[in-house]
Subunit: 195 residues, 2 copies
DNA sequence: GTCTATATCGAGATAGAC
DNA sequence: GTCTATCTCGATATAGAC
């Protein structure tokens, strides 16, 4: 539990997080992570007993990362409508990575579902965190019918757009469809909220 | 080029196709395929020089399979609107597999994008085939503005729904959102087509 | 805590008998 | 054409020196 070991543990998680996103979980080896951090493969096992264990740590880090990010957004924007715009624009802000590697949450869930990995139930909690936050923003805007359903539609629509943009590596499609989604939010979801 | 060898080649492709869908491409070994077909690993290499080569064959088979399927649909339904309904309902007809393994096209593209595989450009042709067919149906229904764009939105929305349903293994979400999508088709896309 | 060395396994791929 | 036997490599994981 020394501070040096803890710091290294964090560096391993950060490197693994990035590599899992860029290359996928199964496709990323201990060597890849060890090289990225600059340690030996053997040292790795002092901090994590298995590859699954680092996946757990990465998912955990991502969840708290998302929670921190959403708290920042809450501080940055008082208007819930602007928060929702900022959510929708997220893929545009990360458009390079989105086109190269897809959705960090969705692509991991897709991989874990494919390999029948037990951690799928923890991975999709990342979606749940976004969902809970979306529900709150919609409630604040006076949307009180089908809020949970609408929040899931948000997530599904963004994910669909991002996944297609990734498959075709098409930045312009991403831009165009995110714009369309904003229109949907204004015209369909928040039709009766003119605050 | 003997008929027996050709038949076995087809059986290998069929088995690989199914396993790639269920387990993913990288996660499926030659042993898996050989076991499924009931041949030895060595025999495998008489028919395919490498694992990539069978991926090519599988994608090729899937594309012609999709084309055949869409031709069947064209024969089965004269009304293009009913064809579009049938397209939208596809995930419901395959709901068990969808929840277990996701979208056969989308999940493969996501994996190939992640591993930077050269075959991604061929895999997303599966989407293109669907897209071309959707454009034709929309044209037949008198939609003449943004047809290509709308057809891609179709694909992206279905893919988003399917990917979320797969991540949560949630059949009821799938049903509910497909229903919603049908409403979107009627109210937004075909609003002015009352044939 | 971090390292090197090594065990073990399963993968893709090849050689050659039949 | 199909098989068995084998090669090679890279992966996860362990043992033990420092």
């Amino acid at each position: 539990m020394g501070s040096k070991g803890e710091a290294l543990r964090q560096r391993i998680i950060t490197a693994a997080d990035e590599l899992f996103y860029q290359q996928g979980y199964e496709n990323t080896s201990f060597s890849d992570i060890a090289d990225a951090v600059g340690i030996s493969r053997g040292n790795f096992y002092y901090h994590f007993k298995s590859k699954d264990e680092i996946l757990i740590a990465v998912i955990d880090a991502r969840i708290t990362g998302i929670e921190l990010m959403l708290n920042e957004w809450n501080k940055k924007f008082i208007d819930p409508r602007k928060r929702l715009y900022y959510y929708i624009d997220m893929p545009l802000r990360n458009q390079e990575n989105i086109c190269l590697h897809g959705c960090p949450v969705g692509s991991l869930c897709t991989e874990l579902a494919k390999t029948n990995h037990a951690m799928l139930d923890d991975a999709n909690k990342m979606f749940i965190v976004f969902h809970g936050w979306l529900v709150i923003q919609l409630n604040l805007l006076g949307v009180n019918k089908n809020v949970k359903k609408i929040a899931m539609q948000f997530i599904a629509r963004v994910l669909g757009i991002v996944t297609v943009a990734n498959a075709f590596k098409d930045k312009s499609f991403l831009k165009q469809e995110i714009k369309q989604l904003k229109k949907w939010l204004d015209d369909e979801v928040l039709e009766f909220c003119h605050q």
